[in-house]
Amino acid sequence: MVATAPLTRGFNCANCGAAVELRALQHTRAVACTSCAAIIDPRDPTVFVLQTAAARERITPVIPLGTRGTWDGQPCEVVGFQRRSIEVDDTRYGWDEYVLFNPYRGFRYLSEYEGHWNDIRTVRELPRLESSGKRTKISYRGESYAHFQGATARTDFVLGEFPWRVRTGDEVRTADYIAPPQMLSSESTDDETTWSIGRYTEAAEIWKAFSLQGEPRSASGVFANQPSPYGKRLKRSAAVFALLAGLLALFVVVRLVSADRERVLSERYVWRPGAGEPAFVTAPFALREPGTVEIALGASVQNAWLGVDLALINVDSGTAWNVSREVSFYTGRDSDGAWTEGSRSSRVLLPAVPAGQYYLRVEPEGPTTSPQVPYTIQVRRDVPSLLPYGIAILLLLVPPVANLLRMASFEHRRLQESDHSA
């Protein structure tokens, strides 16, 4: 069996005298006293106060130092805290970072900005430059990351232990690249460039892992690598749309194949200009099932027109469906060559007519000076109409289109926080 070593060691703060306990021992390069926030070099704690806390405001981390939890399946302890900030357009934006320590697996970090949390680890593989240009892309483990923001990050406040010698006022150049929910970040000084990868993490996951009291504050705005909730919703609504549209197409096919299209009236007439009262009625015909009724007018007009007022009238109830149709057809020749305009036939579809005995009342009208115009009137029942299916498709499109718009708005809000806002 191997020897058990104590991992903690203590001394008194050279600044205020409070007991300071080291939890990560040899790894610890700076410890900030939890009483007065003086930063001490643990190798010579009696002398080496790297920075006193005199002018600094106290910040209380939401995860207390010393908290233990199980993170990513491994036990770890929160040993350090720092607040850092960047300046964009004369405004400072601050965020918090927590140092997690496991004596075997080393350090990892949690960061919080406005309720948005990231789980951060250093990376072993150097990311590859994929494309420079307007928005640089880099690749890491086969995934592409787009440049989001470059800045200078400054350490403003420190508590607890760090694996490097941290001082307030320390500055590093940072560059963030995103592939939500991941974010690759580089931090550079003249002597070192380090890369780390953050995974956007729900606060609730952290609260549970570290058994924290109370509720995490709710996140505001859209964070750089926050996964879009609309991506998933869009996929889901598109899948539902595809399913229902497929069903609808099946219905359309069945309808087109199985429709009766039964001809119940087919008559030929002649329009004679100046023939007095032109209105007449047809012989009665039967619509044996309720449904659609198509009335088609055809006329061999040539440089003329013919209009017909029609009424489909139920013999028993007298209920009437009034429609009017007009056909006109003109031809000619001009500098561009021959031309035609209009059509010699016209149809109208009545969507829902009850079964029963019906007749048509027909009142034709044409130019008084034209020659005679022969025309036909045909009535068919159960002719399929695509209009309701068209409306259904439009209604089915509403959820995916709404999600698409929301997603675009989400991505827009994300980019507003970047160097690449429009």
Binding site: V2, T4, A5, P6, L25, H27, P103, G106, R165, T194
Partner: protein, 180 residues
Amino acid sequence: MVVRHDLDLDAIGEISDLPPDSSPIQLGTEGRFDERAFTVVGRIVYEHADGGWNEWHLVFADGTSGWLSDAQAEYAVSTLVAPPPQPLPEATAVTVGVGYPWRGEDLQVTTLTRARYTGVEGELPFEYWGKDEVLFADLRGHEATFATFDYSETPPLLFVGRLVEYDDLSLRQLRSFDGW
């Protein structure tokens, strides 16, 4: 290469005690790297202004030597490549971002460290070396390749290997810590 056994710190005289230590690795720790079993037989402790790290001397089952670097529990295994396939840059010319070709990969200098050793223990493949501050340049590649230019000698030494996760090494005979 001379392997020094039973190193006596007093005999060297100038080297202080090992600093307080929280590395989980110790002499006798065993593990595997790329299916090759190794045993930790020695150690050098390096310190620099902003941190420090351990270089654990490994002896593989076939008798060859290697190094397991433990920098704040970030681990890398490397071996000496002598002579280097390409000459290493001069100490004065090496900066962050300088490239070095290695087996078709372009390694880049990511860290420059000026450090000196503050303690040794166990078996080491050296007899003696100076205590002056020495420049180290760490390089990384796109496939977790890890290399170090060690300017403690002239010409400088090249170590090449790979950054590894703790779990990749299947370490045994580790130290255990109170409460962990």
